[in-house]
């Protein structure tokens, strides 16, 4: 069923409503406030935070909510959840982030971030925690 674009009363009203609804959906999808949580199976942000503290990520990064130094070697991770790229090169996707966190040189050979001693499960936890870091 097509919508005839015309200026007749009912048609124009439907057109207008449809336009508004599409705009609203698009807006909801584009956010303006909270990000949709990125899904990581069986990953717990709280465990991730503890892992971050134990492995020493704070030696290079300033990570909000993590008790440790505020490292200045790598970028600060405040608002990381909304960042489009990881390390300026890799799309910020859950699977890629988990891989990056435990073996960054595999994704970007020239990076300064060394491989970290994390299991796969631990790296997913860490990624889950990073995805809770929204910009204020």
């Amino acid at each position: 069923m097509g919508l005839k674009l015309g200026s007749s009363g009912a048609g124009a009203a439907v057109k207008r409503v449809t336009f508004l609804m599409s705009a609203g959906l698009a807006a909801a999808a584009c956010d303006g406030g909270a990000v949709q949580p990125r899904a990581l199976a069986n990953a717990e942000p709280a465990r991730g935070r503890a892992t971050i503290e134990q492995v020493g990520c704070a030696a290079c990064h300033h990570i909000p909510g993590v008790r440790g130094p505020k490292g200045r070697v790598g970028p600060p991770l405040e608002g990381f959840a909304e960042r489009a790229l990881i390390g300026g090169r890799v799309p910020n996707r859950p699977d890629l982030l988990a891989l990056w966190v435990r073996d960054a040189p595999a994704l970007v050979p020239g990076t300064g971030m060394p491989p970290m001693p994390l299991t796969e499960a631990e790296s997913r936890d860490v990624a889950a925690y990073l995805y809770t870091l929204n910009a204020r």
Binding site: T51, Q54, G56, C60, M113
Partner: protein, 326 residues
């Protein structure tokens, strides 16, 4: 690739504060002090209860009680007789324990020299003739079940060497050498901390004592007497080249290489250490890279300047090289 972190973190295990380390002895010296501490706690609790009871009775008790408590007699009993008896007993107990703990070891005992620096610990293992044969930093390895003599010195200001689970503390004073005998009954990792304010990041000056089963300790010692093999991994080899070219050897020593600086910690076996920065960071390639690039963000005021001249790859190469020094 890696076992879970909870099974690997000996640093976290050693830093645990409960049960209270001073009351959870891991060696005979600490055990003697812990027993004394419990006796004292019990005794002082009892005396406090007596005093509180006396106050309560004096304020609220029956006239007969209050009459008994008033006057000089109470003062003589509670203020003179009771303390003299209790204190004399405690003094004898305390002095005999002190004498036992301060006794010097037999001549052939293993000796380790630890020098307090701002804000790390220089460690040297002595041979029978008193020569320093193994050098390290921020971590001391000893055989479990045997006493070890620690010679404590200071390079700059006063520090204090304290491993609460193993013994009381002893100050490191410039111009003096103090001697402490430590024994760990069981293998394990024991955390220590500087206990005399030395300015700046004194709060971040910790260390570890690692006790091995005796046979394992002999193997460890033998391995340490040989310098580590040159790096086989190409990234680590690149790191060795970066290390040599960047002047790191002016402050740090790596046995078997040209680096022989004495200002900073010995790095010959830095990859094997269970912590970095004097007990404040776990030891892995990431933390190594972070420390080298900007240790000031981690431990402000420490004597190592930031090194912001490395590219990402060079930094990783260095970290791989240092991690391989084990």
């Amino acid at each position: 690739m890696w076992p879970p972190i909870s099974t690997r973190s000996t640093l976290a295990e050693a830093l645990r504060g409960w049960p209270a380390p001073a009351l959870d002895p891991g060696g005979p010296a600490a055990a003697a002090i812990a027993t004394l501490s419990w006796v004292l706690l019990a005794l002082t609790g009892l005396i406090l209860a007596i005093v509180l009871a006396a106050i309560a009775l004096a304020l609220l008790g029956r006239p007969a009680w209050r009459a008994w408590l008033s006057g000089e007699r109470l003062v003589w009993i509670g203020g003179v007789a009771l303390p003299i008896v209790v204190l004399t007993g405690l003094l004898i107990y305390g002095l005999t324990t002190t004498g036992r703990l301060a006794a010097a070891g037999p001549p052939g005992e293993m000796r380790v020299r630890v020098t307090g620096e701002m804000w790390w610990w220089r460690v040297a293992y002595l041979d029978a003739a008193g020569r320093e044969v193994i050098h390290d930093a921020n971590e001391v390895h000893i055989p479990a079940g045997r006493p070890v003599t620690f010679e404590l010195e200071a390079a700059d200001v006063i520090h204090s060497f304290w491993v609460p689970r193993l013994a009381g503390k002893l100050d490191m004073i410039p111009g003096r050498r103090n001697v402490l005998r430590l024994q760990a009954d069981a293998p394990g990792v024991y955390a220590g901390q500087c206990a005399e304010f030395c300015g700046g990041p004194h709060a971040l000056m910790g260390f570890l004592v690692v006790a091995h089963p005796p046979a394992e300790f002999e193997r460890w010692r033998a391995a340490r007497l040989r310098p580590p093999a040159p790096p086989s991994d190409p990234l680590a080899a690149r790191g060795a080249a970066v290390f040599a070219a960047s002047g790191c050897g002016a402050c740090h020593r790596i046995a078997g290489s040209a680096a022989n600086g004495l200002a900073g910690p010995d790095l010959t076996f830095v990859g094997a250490r269970r912590s970095l920065g004097a007990g404040i960071l776990p030891n892995n390639q990431g933390t190594l890279a972070g420390w080298v690039a900007d240790s000031q963000a981690i431990k402000p005021g420490n004597r190592m300047p930031p090194f912001r001249t490395f590219s990402g790859e060079e930094l990783r190469a260095l970290a791989a090289y240092l991690e391989g020094l084990r």
